[in-house]
Each structure stands twice: as structure tokens, then as C-alpha cells.
């Protein structure tokens, strides 16, 4: 199967600091990919490059056989790659429903008239339909995370980039968001998921990519990665 996303030697410098160094990997369609690594490993930088929030210094990003290297975030969203933010960023003046409308009307779903893909259905799907008319600022953290996901899904992505979607959530909330991610995967969306919560990411991903100091350290199944000595060293620290 052709990969949905293929990145090749992606590198990013910030004023002399190397945030990412020649990172390459492929994502196959339909999977949940976990992206882990210690603080400062470059996970969010990589996610931001894939989302078009920042542009890589060098390297290429190929999405669904299209070279999208350096495209702006709105172009990425219209191509089918969308991100969520670690700290939810609702449009405060808009209602929950109107927040989702932005994704419906400007993402890839735009123009598909007659489609049943409307904002209310998406809210139902993520479980906050009862909050549709509430001002987005009144939502709890858990519901804000759901709104963040709903808004992203409204653009009809093929690849969903989730940045720490479980941070700040309680155990039951985390479990319910993870169920939601599986549901999104079942609906055919590929997910690349950055998370600090190792337990959460190991339980939900079928394939994990480990980063350290801006480089890819290892990748493989959750079990294989967990027993990889270089990964253990990166997390616990080298003793040798």
C-alpha cells in the first residue's frame, strides 16, 4: 500500500539551534501512530511542520502523492492534514456549533453540498451535541478537547495530527478521549498522535515513532519500542 504521508530528511533550524535533524518516516493509511520522546525532542516542531504552522529548513513532505513541503496551514487543511492544539484554542466569541462551522466551511469538506456532513452531526459524534449553542468559553477542559477534535474533524481530514490531546485530563476523561480516537480511526482517518502520557499512547497506537534531540531514535510496535535499549536510555538516562 502506498503511504499516506512520507517525509524525507526533514530538518528545521531555529536561529542556529537544530530542532529537527533529517527525520524520515512513512505513515500507512488507517493507522494510529504515536510520536513520543523526552521534552525538547522535536515532536511538536515536527507536528507543526506537517500542519503547515511552520516551514521546514530542508527535506520534503509528500502527502497522498503530492509534494506539500512548505505549504501554509490553510493549504494543508484544504489538502487533508489538520492539527489540534495541546492547549485548546476555541474561537471565544463563537458558539460551539459556530466553531465547528469554521472547519466545515473552510476545510476540505467545503463545496460538498448535499452532504450530510454538518456541524451538528460532528458534535453528536464527539459527544458534545448538547453544548452546541453554548459559548465556547464555558466548556470544561475535557469538552474543550472534544471541541478541538470536532473542529478538526469538520475539515474532513485524511490525516489528523493530535498534540497532547490527553494532557490535563482525568483518568476517565483520558479513557473516553482515547475511545474517540479509535472511533476516528475506524472511520478511516489516519492519526499521528503526540503524547507525554506513555500509558495512553502505548494503549492506543499500533506503531510508535520515538524521537530524541531532534532525531528519530526508533520506530516499531509499542512492545518493540518499549524494550529497545536506546529508547530506555533516552527516557531514563544513560548510565554507562
Amino acid at each position: 500500500m502506498a503511504p499516506i504521508l512520507s517525509i524525507d530528511r526533514v530538518t528545521k533550524y531555529f536561529a542556529g539551534l537544530t530542532a529537527l535533524k533529517e527525520v524520515s518516516f512513512d505513515l500507512q493509511p488507517g493507522g494510529i501512530y504515536g510520536l513520543i520522546g523526552p521534552n525538547g525532542a522535536g515532536k511538536t516542531t515536527l507536528l507543526s511542520i506537517l500542519a503547515g504552522s511552520i516551514q521546514p529548513t530542508s527535506g520534503t513532505v509528500v502527502f497522498q502523492d503530492r509534494n506539500v513541503t512548505g505549504a501554509k496551514s490553510f493549504a494543508m487543511a484544504q489538502a487533508g492534514i489538520v492539527r489540534t492544539h495541546q492547549v485548546p484554542r476555541p474561537f471565544r466569541a463563537l458558539s460551539v456549533l459556530e466553531n465547528v462551522e469554521v472547519g466545515v466551511r473552510f476545510g476540505r469538506s467545503q463545496g460538498s453540498a448535499g452532504d450530510l456532513w454538518d456541524a451538528r452531526r460532528i458534535l453528536e459524534w464527539v459527544g458534545i451535541a448538547h453544548l452546541a449553542d453554548a459559548p465556547s468559553v464555558t466548556l470544561s477542559v475535557g469538552d474543550q478537547k472534544r471541541l478541538e477534535l470536532a473542529r478538526a474533524l469538520a475539515t474532513r481530514p485524511s490525516l489528523l495530527l493530535c498534540d497532547e490531546v490527553c494532557s490535563g485530563l482525568t483518568e476517565p476523561e483520558t479513557a473516553s478521549v482515547l475511545r474517540l480516537l479509535r472511533k476516528i480511526q475506524d472511520a478511516g482517518t489516519t492519526i499521528l498522535y503526540v503524547e507525554h502520557n506513555l500509558k495512553a499512547i502505548m494503549s492506543v497506537s499500533h506503531h510508535v515513532i520515538v524521537m530524541n534531540f531532534g532525531e528519530k531514535l526508533a520506530e516499531g510496535s509499542p512492545e518493540a519500542v518499549q524494550s529497545d535499549p536506546s529508547v530506555i536510555a533516552a527516557y531514563i538516562g544513560r548510565t554507562a
Partner: protein, 322 residues
């Protein structure tokens, strides 16, 4: 999108809000029947010009959150373009279209380099551009420089003609503003105002949206400048390009209620009427009053007069019903 799912209790005031503007419009349109004095008509004319410009500023600044101090540029360029084209024999409606077009061009020149930047750069740039244009126009000999430019009138002056031109333009502005508020374009502007990065993440092109809003606002402001010039028949750079005009344009929607359809209208009426009355009797006092009003609104009710009304009306209704 906005009214969906609201209870029936609010249906009546909504209806009243829809009818009130139409009533007001009917009264304004029937104005000649009241045989008002020329001074009153002049006051109404000026107020309607302000209404148009206040609405225009609000499209970019209120819905889109892009604060401009430079709308005097569009107002002045519109005024000069209309004056020059009327003097070259162009009919008055076409001259207003030309005025709008020149203002749109100017909006592109300002917006193309500055809307790519985030933060206050656009606002700062508009201050610089506004002053630069005023200085240039003060020194352009073709338009009389600092001493101003006169429209040579070839036919008798009918005050009501100008009043109706201003009224028609204000109605167009209100219609445009309502349309924008409930359109896909308006949703993009509000999303950009709230969080430009998040809006872009969802597929909104911020650069193009801001340029369009700027152009639309400039077109209305330029046309309003043209309407004013045709009435005044004499314009000069210190009048139409004054930095104070640019600030006044921004005060009106803020006083009335930023980001709403009717706030800018109310703000312009308050500004137009009070200013005209006060400036004659107390030349300095009106600035003091505006300054105080602005501070009070920013401190206590950022949604302006419309916001105050939204707080008071439900309480009054509750008292009357209870």
C-alpha cells in the same frame, strides 16, 4: 446559524429589531415632507456619511479585528477622486464608483505588505501611511496643495439630492454589513479576529480574507468621501486627510459596539449629532467628552452602547413582566 435553537420568547424583540430600522429608513426617506431647515438636513447628511464610514471600519476592525488608524486615506482619496472626475465631466454616480476604486487600490497597497505580518504591524503601518498621504496631498499642485480643491458646479445645488445619495450609500453599507455578518466570509473574519493561527489551521486563508475585508471597507469609505466632496464642493488635505479623521472613524464603532451590525450605526449617530452640536458651542469640549466616553466604554463595557443595551433591555423587560 445564529438563531437556530433559540427559544420562542426572544422572537418578538427580534422582530422589533428587524422592523425598527425599516421604520427609521421610511422616516428618513420621507424627510422632505417635514420641511426641515437646511441646517438640519446638513446635519443628517453628515451623520449618514459617518454611518457609512463607521460601518466600513467595523467590517475590517470589528469583525476581522484588524485595527486601522488610516481610514482618512480612503475618505480623502475618495473625496479627491470624485471631485477631480466631476470636474472632468464624469457624472456623479460614476465618479463615486471611481472614488471607491481608487480607495480599493490604496487598500491593496497598504494591505499587501502588512497583512502578512502578525501583531500590531498593520495598525502601525496605517498611521504612517495616513500621515504620508496627507503630506503628499498637501504638496500636489494639481489639486491645489494645502489650499484645497474646488468642484466647479455646472448646475444648481439641491441639498436633498445629496441627502438621498448619502442615505442610499448608508443603506448599502448596512446591507453589506448584515450580509457579511451572516456569511462564510464573516465567519472567516471573526475566526481570524479570535485566533488567526487556529483559523488558518482549519483552512481559512487569513491573508486573502483580510485583504478582501480591507478592500470592501475602503470601497465604502471612498464612496462616502466622494458623496461628501460632491456636497461640500470644496475639500482640502487638512480636512479630509487629517489624522484626527482616522481616529474619529475608529472611535464611532468602538463607542457604538464593535463587531456588531448596529453598534457602528449608533456610534456614528452619537458622534455625528453630538459633535456637530458641541463643536460650535464648545470647540474643545467635544474631544474631552469623546475621550471620557471612550475610557468609560473600554473600562466597563467593551461591547459599547449595544452592549449596554443588551444588559439593560432584558432587565427592563423582566421588571415590566414581573
Amino acid at each position: 446559524m445564529n438563531g437556530a435553537g433559540k427559544s420562542g420568547a426572544s422572537a418578538r424583540p427580534r422582530f422589533a429589531f428587524a422592523v425598527a430600522p425599516l421604520l427609521l429608513l421610511a422616516v428618513l426617506a420621507a424627510l422632505p415632507a417635514f420641511s426641515l431647515g437646511p441646517n438640519t438636513v446638513r446635519l443628517l447628511f453628515v451623520t449618514l456619511v459617518w454611518v457609512t464610514i463607521s460601518i466600513a471600519w467595523n467590517i475590517l476592525g470589528g469583525f476581522g479585528g484588524q485595527v486601522s488608524f488610516g481610514f482618512a486615506v480612503f475618505y480623502g482619496l475618495g473625496a479627491y477622486t470624485a471631485a477631480l472626475s466631476v470636474n472632468s465631466g464624469v457624472n456623479s454616480i460614476l465618479s463615486l464608483l471611481l472614488a471607491a476604486s481608487v480607495a480599493v487600490l490604496a487598500s491593496m497597497l497598504v494591505g499587501l505588505p502588512t497583512f502578512r505580518l502578525r501583531g500590531p504591524y498593520f495598525a502601525i503601518a496605517t498611521i504612517g501611511v495616513s500621515e504620508a498621504v496627507r503630506v503628499v496631498m498637501t504638496n500636489v499642485s494639481m489639486t491645489g496643495g494645502a489650499s484645497g480643491y474646488r468642484i466647479i458646479e455646472t448646475r444648481p445645488f439641491h441639498q436633498l439630492e445629496h441627502f438621498y445619495a448619502a442615505l442610499a450609500l448608508a443603506v448599502v453599507a448596512v446591507a453589506v454589513s448584515m450580509q457579511v455578518r451572516h456569511s462564510k466570509f464573516g465567519l472567516a473574519l471573526i475566526a481570524i479576529r479570535e485566533d488567526e493561527e487556529a483559523a488558518s489551521d482549519l483552512g481559512v486563508n487569513p491573508y486573502r480574507t483580510k485583504l478582501l475585508a480591507h478592500a470592501l471597507a475602503a470601497a465604502l469609505t471612498g464612496a462616502a468621501g466622494g458623496v461628501f466632496a460632491q456636497y461640500a464642493a470644496f475639500i482640502h488635505p487638512q480636512g479630509v486627510f487629517a489624522f484626527g479623521i482616522g481616529v474619529a472613524i475608529l472611535l464611532m464603532p468602538i463607542i457604538g459596539g464593535i463587531g456588531t451590525v448596529w453598534g457602528p450605526v449608533i456610534g456614528a449617530v452619537v458622534y455625528g449629532l453630538i459633535q456637530e452640536e458641541l463643536i460650535a458651542s464648545f470647540p474643545q469640549l467635544h474631544l474631552l467628552i469623546y475621550g471620557s466616553l471612550l475610557i468609560l466604554i473600554v473600562l466597563f463595557e467593551p461591547a459599547g452602547i449595544v452592549g449596554i443595551a443588551r444588559q439593560i433591555v432584558p432587565r427592563l423587560r423582566a421588571r415590566m413582566e414581573g
